[in-house]
């Protein structure tokens, strides 16, 4: 029996402000980034965010869609406590883009997944229930999420298995992260509705599944239910279901005849948006697709695993390309970037764009090649380059000035010379560590910062004998 699976995936676009108002997309406490527009106050009107349209266009082009010459917004009307205006501004008749094709490798085989449409829309507010949804006496509404820009990507029912659907979502997530159109760390960055039917049977939709893995679980469970029906000769009813992660089952949400009539109308507060100039601008600025970049980096002699890290770490491909201009060993460069560089970056909570400049890394690698510094020392130097934002030579120079002692030598010296404090520390006296840090600072003339000193001391003390 052949399954036909389609996905409607919502991702949160990476913008500074909401889709229709100047409120920020970050919130620290309930209702702290709201305004009359996203709270649906009478008299307010939407003002469409250019960036959201551009990011949506970027997604559409990456999925080989045809961008509409003109797009409109529509009002999708329904009542729910999280919907401030009583309608959602979305796209209905004329979406941003349609007729695309995605060609990821799914389950080891290059697939052709047709993309039906790509559109942008606003998120409703966040709804909480006092206690449990089943027994709550009232709901509590936080409008901080209301108006967050979403992009919906709808496929044709081209997946044949739940595993394919999951792998597609994983591929999509990394593609969108690579394009930097989403923030992969954002809460609930990806939500999907999945539809599935068996051999021309009725279509069942499973609403609002978070992430990628859960989609596979929900589809597997629903597929089994439908196969069970088929084996008993029963007909599957057309309906909308919900996946309960706890029981691993789908349950009926509403039957076909209970489907809501959304009474779509054109959004009269927004003009028709001409897309030609936007699509052209986005198209020109469009980066090479990750698969193409991966192949290119591999052709330079970089092993696949390293190339993958270089391509899919946000911002790293451009960084790699810039370094390659001044350094002739791409494989060596990739090895450093994918390992020590990445580690230091994460350790310091940085992104590629606020890491040491490419020329400084090129300088460090050059110093290794010329034998000016050995690889082990270089690993320490790069750490300091990140911590202090300095170049390798500067770091080395500062060290040479410190009686020629390396960090490690200073630490070992302090441990050797302060036996009492060391045993106090080992006996559990935390203040002894403070004393030792002070000694390190003194001896290194404060070249080693206290945080670093603490780290190294603890490491050495715990590693040491006794």
């Amino acid at each position: 029996m052949k399954a036909m699976i389609g996905l409607e995936t919502h991702v949160q676009l990476r913008t500074a402000t909401k889709l229709f108002c100047g409120c920020t997309t970050v919130s620290r406490e309930p209702n702290d980034n709201v305004c009359p527009i996203c709270m649906g106050y009478p008299g307010s009107k939407p003002a469409l965010n250019r960036k959201a349209v551009e990011l949506g266009t970027q997604i559409a082009l990456a999925l080989n869609c045809r961008v509409a010459p003109e797009m409109w917004f529509s009002r999708k009307s329904y009542f729910y406590p999280d919907l401030p205006k009583g309608f959602q501004i979305t796209q209905y008749e004329v979406p941003l883009a349609s007729g695309g094709l995605a060609e990821p490798v799914l389950c080891g085989k290059k697939a052709g997944i047709r993309i039906r449409r790509v559109h942008v829309e606003e998120d409703p507010a966040k709804l909480e229930h006092e206690g449990d949804i089943m027994t709550a006496a009232r709901s509590l509404v936080d409008y901080s999420r209301s108006g967050i820009p979403l992009c919906e990507i709808v496929t044709e029912p081209d997946f044949e298995s739940p595993a394919q659907a999951r792998e597609y979502l994983e591929w999509l997530l990394s593609l969108l992260a690579y394009l930097e159109v989403i923030d992969p760390r954002a809460e609930g960055v990806m939500r999907s509705d999945a539809n599935i039917s068996l051999d021309g049977g009725e279509r069942v939709e499973i609403k609002n599944i978070t992430g990628t893995l859960m989609v596979e679980q929900a589809l597997k469970s629903e597929l089994n239910r439908q196969i069970g029906f088929a084996n008993l000769g029963k007909k599957v009813a057309r309906e909308t279901r919900l996946f309960d992660g706890a029981t691993g089952r789908t349950v009926t949400l509403r039957k076909k005849e209970e489907e809501e009539d959304y009474g779509y109308i054109f959004e009269p507060d927004l003009p028709i948006v001409g897309m030609d100039a936007i699509a052209e601008g986005v198209g020109k600025a469009m980066r090479e697709m990750p698969e193409v970049a991966l192949a290119r980096v591999e052709r330079l002699g970089v092993p696949r695993g390293l190339a993958h890290a270089v391509v899919y770490t946000p911002g790293m491909l451009a960084y790699f390309d810039e370094c390659s201009g001044g350094y002739g060993k791409p494989d060596e460069l990739a090895r450093w970037l994918a390992n020590d560089f990445l580690k230091c970056m994460h350790w310091n909570g940085l992104e590629v764009r606020d890491s040491p400049k490419p020329e400084l890394i090129v300088e460090l690698l050059g110093m290794i090649d010329s034998g000016e510094i050995n690889e082990r020392a270089a690993k320490d130097v790069i750490k300091e380059m990140f911590a202090k934002g300095k170049g390798a030579r500067e770091v080395m120079g500062a060290r040479a000035a410190g009686k020629g002692e390396s960090e490690g030598e200073v630490i070992s010296g302090v441990i050797r010379d302060n036996g009492k404090a060391v045993s106090d520390f080992k006996a559990g006296n935390a203040r002894a560590l403070q004393f030792l840090i002070g000694e390190v600072m003194k001896k290194s003339k404060a070249r080693i910062d206290p945080k670093r000193a603490r780290e190294m001391l603890v490491k050495q003390l715990n590693a040491g004998p006794g």
């Binding site: 106050y41 009478p42 003002a47 009307s77 709901s139 109308i265 009269p268 927004l270």
Partner: protein, 482 residues
């Protein structure tokens, strides 16, 4: 009617410090209170805020820092146009205590020109009416200052009544009104004053409580064409907060009311005279003939689709209105109760309690007109008919500078006459006002003379963005009708 001093000249004198704005505003407020007790034309009178603003403006005038086209001019504002910190109700019980956190762009611009908001005027609930008898629960029905047994016209009924009453008392004043399908023309006509409805988008709708977003237009009502033009001139212009506002430069208008003696090519659309009270037709034709005698060219023109404007207008209006009113659900603002039922029940109860009859009728009709299975036949078809009406107007304006027709097909009716009308009979009386409104073209209503002591109005319609031409023709009509 000799009328009060023109607002523009009052503003110039006030800016030179020749009048005490505080005294003038105090006198205006007193007259507003008096008028309101007689005519019920205000939902809110802004006593203290208006006085303190008047004192501040007097201070500016003393320091020689006074500026603004409306300096010290009292302005009343229809109650569906938001005023920051001042209750704004749209005439509905569902938001009878709503205090907006922002002012409408139009109000901000009027205040920036020195205008002083003295009150919020009575209206049909959310603009749902042509006579101002469909006020929300707990609101008073305004009365026509010319004859208290008669309606003011609507939905900007309070604007029309206040303008006529203050003019009769010799007080300079203008009123910020709003039209969706005739809500400026109708009260201007029935109260014997001037109303100008600009091109759709000419005045920003930011801060306007929506009735039907693709039809709503903020405009002005004044004792004469010049006052109405001046207020519109101050309020108009592009605004990033309303993406449907027009980007084209919005030039001066009030001065166009003073350059008389121009000759025009005037078209008279015959469909606008079908079923019109002959006393009204005669007065409008009389005015047109006088302009012809002064050298204008006059020709008859046919707009065959105009007679479908009423159903097309209503279907678009109620479809959009039924979505615009979905935000009123008994949370965040307005009428609220401790929500004990599930949301469907709670919303249905609070909306039943807060909406008046006409609001319920239009919300239900609008929900129906956009339902699957009916949407194509009603909502979408109406939008296509609109395309045809716009095209017919455009063709007429290739040949004519302006079209002139009756404003309302009848003289101001009594409350008793209106109460006997079924909804579809009331809607049918919008036959002259729905065509320019559905097409979004600028138009004005000016008094065309009296019949049996009651005013008739002539409506001037021009091509999109031709507000200046509207003012020129309206002034010419005003001059010959005096």
């Amino acid at each position: 009617m000799s009328g009060p001093e023109p607002a523009a000249s009052f503003a110039r004198r006030a800016a030179r410090g020749e009048v005490s704005i505080e005294e003038s505003v105090a006198k205006t407020l007193e007259e507003c209170e008096k008028t309101d007790s007689r005519l019920a034309c205000f939902n809110t009178i802004c006593g203290e805020p208006a006085l303190s603003r008047a004192r501040a403006l007097d201070g500016l005038a003393k320091e020689g820092k006074a500026a603004g086209r409306l300096f010290g001019v009292p302005v009343s504002v229809k109650d569906n146009i938001c005023t920051k910190g001042v209750r704004t109700t749209a005439g509905s019980a569902i938001i009878s205590d709503y205090v907006p956190p922002m002012s409408a762009t139009a109000v901000e611009r009027i205040e920036a020109e020195g205008g002083i908001v003295v009150g919020k005027t009575a209206m049909d609930e959310f603009g749902f009416g042509g006579f101002c008898v469909n006020v929300g629960k707990g609101f008073r029905v305004p009365r026509n200052p010319l004859d208290e047994k008669r309606v003011t016209g609507g939905s900007s009924g309070g604007c029309g009544a206040v303008t006529a009453a203050l003019a009769a008392a010799g007080i300079p004043h203008a009123s910020l009104a709003e039209s969706t399908g005739g809500s400026i023309t109708s009260p201007a006509c029935f109260c014997g004053v001037v109303g100008i409805t600009p091109t759709y988008g000419r005045v920003s709708r930011w801060g306007l409580i929506d009735f039907a977003s693709s039809l709503d237009k903020i405009g002005s009502i004044g004792a004469n064409v010049e006052d109405a033009a001046l207020l519109l001139e101050a309020a108009q212009g592009a605004d990033a907060r309303d993406m449907t506002s027009r980007p084209e430069p919005a030039g001066p208008l009030a001065d166009a009311a003073r350059g008389l003696g121009k000759r025009f090519r005037l078209g008279v659309p015959k469909e606008f005279f079908e079923g019109v009270d002959p006393r009204v037709s005669d007065l409008v034709w009389g005015a047109v003939k006088k302009l012809e005698a002064e050298g204008s060219e006059v020709g008859e023109v046919s707009l065959p689709t105009a007679k479908y404007a009423v159903p097309a207008y209503y279907l678009i209006a109620v479809s959009e209105a039924s979505t615009n009113l979905a935000r009123f659900n008994g949370t965040r603002f307005g009428l609220q109760r401790e929500p004990e039922q599930a949301f469907g029940e709670y919303f249905s109860e609070i909306r039943a309690e807060g909406f008046g009859d006409e609001a319920k009728r239009r919300v239900i009709l609008g929900t129906f007109a956009r339902m699957a299975g009916y949407r194509g036949k009603y909502y979408l078809r109406a939008m296509k008919v609109r395309t045809r009406i716009i095209a017919e107007f455009a063709r007429a304006f290739e040949k004519y500078d302006a079209l002139v027709a009756p404003s309302m097909p009848i003289l101001p009716p009594t409350f008793e006459e209106v109460s006997g009308l079924a909804p579809h009979e009331a809607y049918a009386l919008d036959l002259c006002t729905t065509p320019p409104n559905i097409a979004g073209i600028p138009h004005a209503s000016v008094p065309a003379g009296m019949a049996g002591g009651l005013p008739a109005g002539a409506q001037v319609m021009c091509a999109h963005l031709q507000e200046r031409r509207v003012v020129e023709v309206a002034s010419a009509l005003e001059a010959v009708s005096k």
